[in-house]
């Protein structure tokens, strides 16, 4: 190399940096990135149960818990068609004993959600998120959130 012609050749001192550890570190970093590459997808699963056919008896132990979010931000909670309006902040506190009761009866912990047409998606997801906060397992999958199929659209 030209640069060594000045002083390097005379004293024969290696003036280049030792690149071997540098390459080692780079290779390790590269491998780490290659391994991490399969991206982790963050999700909240929303169940969409198929419609129960008429000759199929629903589970007698299950209680249909439905949360309906209105555009005003108010929530109507209904338990087997019995409706109770509640404040948005009360949702989690309200649902906890209900879900415990469902679990005590041996049924699956499912909450149906329904929203007004113009509710923004962020509100939909935050409601689901609040419901899922009641599940204490790692993936928050013990409490299932199910979509309530709208009646008026069924006619189409």
């Amino acid at each position: 190399m030209g640069m060594s012609s000045g002083s390097g050749d005379k004293k024969s001192v290696q003036s280049e940096i030792n690149v071997t550890p540098l390459i080692d570190v780079l290779l390790v970093l590269l491998i780490i990135f290659l391994v991490v590459m399969p991206i982790m997808m963050k999700m909240e699963p929303l169940e969409i149960p198929r419609k129960i056919t008429e000759n199929e008896a629903p589970d007698p132990n299950s209680i249909m818990l439905t949360v309906k979010v209105k555009i005003t931000g108010d929530i109507v909670f209904s338990e087997n068609e019995k409706e109770t309006p509640i404040a948005a902040a009360e949702l989690v506190r309200m649902l906890r004993p209900k879900l415990d009761a469902v679990a005590a009866r041996g049924a699956e912990r499912v909450i149906f959600v329904d929203f007004d047409d113009s509710v923004p998606w962020a509100r939909v997801v935050s409601t689901m998120d609040q419901i899922r906060s009641l599940a204490t397992d790692v993936n928050h999958d013990a409490v299932k959130v199910a979509l309530k199929v709208k009646e008026e659209l069924k006619a189409q």
Binding site: S5, M43, P120
Partner: protein, 161 residues
């Protein structure tokens, strides 16, 4: 300048003749390091930028579940209510675009990149889009495509409570 240059050249070649036995036999690592650095930067950028499907502003959540990418089809609904499958725009949600979405997803399920992704859909909807724009998509997936669970994409809420 030119004269000095030739002079140095001459001196250099003279040197080489004298030290003919000293052959540098280690590989030249400089280009190797260059390539590695470039690869590293590419991978770093890819991990930062790469997201599947159309890029939308995802709603924030804390109680999410996390999974490795199963290469399931990604459906997106942008802020204007347009439907996207992976990176291709299908247009506003109508029966025709939903059918188109169905066809594309069925195609992806038939030739899956990862068998675990078959029967699953990852739905990315913009956090400001109205429920009524997303609902027909969910309903279609349930009624026509017989999907019983849809994975809703969220973004990690950085300010956790």
């Amino acid at each position: 300048m030119a004269a000095g240059h030739t002079h140095r050249r001459w001196r250099l070649s003279g040197h080489k003749k004298a030290m003919i036995d000293v052959v540098r036999n280690d590989i030249n690592v400089t280009p190797l390091v260059d390539v590695m650095l470039v690869l590293l930067i590419i991978f770093m950028l890819m991990t930062l930028i790469m997201g599947r499907g159309h890029d939308v502003q995802l709603p924030k959540a804390t109680n999410y579940s996390q999974e490795k990418d199963k290469m399931q089809p990604v459906v997106s609904i942008d802020i204007d209510g347009n439907l996207w499958v992976e990176k291709s725009k299908l247009g506003p949600v109508t029966q025709a675009t939903l059918k188109e979405m169905d066809d594309q997803i069925q195609g992806m399920w038939k030739a899956p990149k990862n068998p675990d992704g078959v029967g699953r859909i990852y739905l990315k909807a913009d956090d400001k889009v109205e429920y009524i724009k997303v609902y027909p998509v969910l309903e279609y997936m349930n009624k026509i495509m017989l999907v019983q669970s849809v994975d809703l994409a969220i973004a990690k809420d950085s300010e956790e409570k």
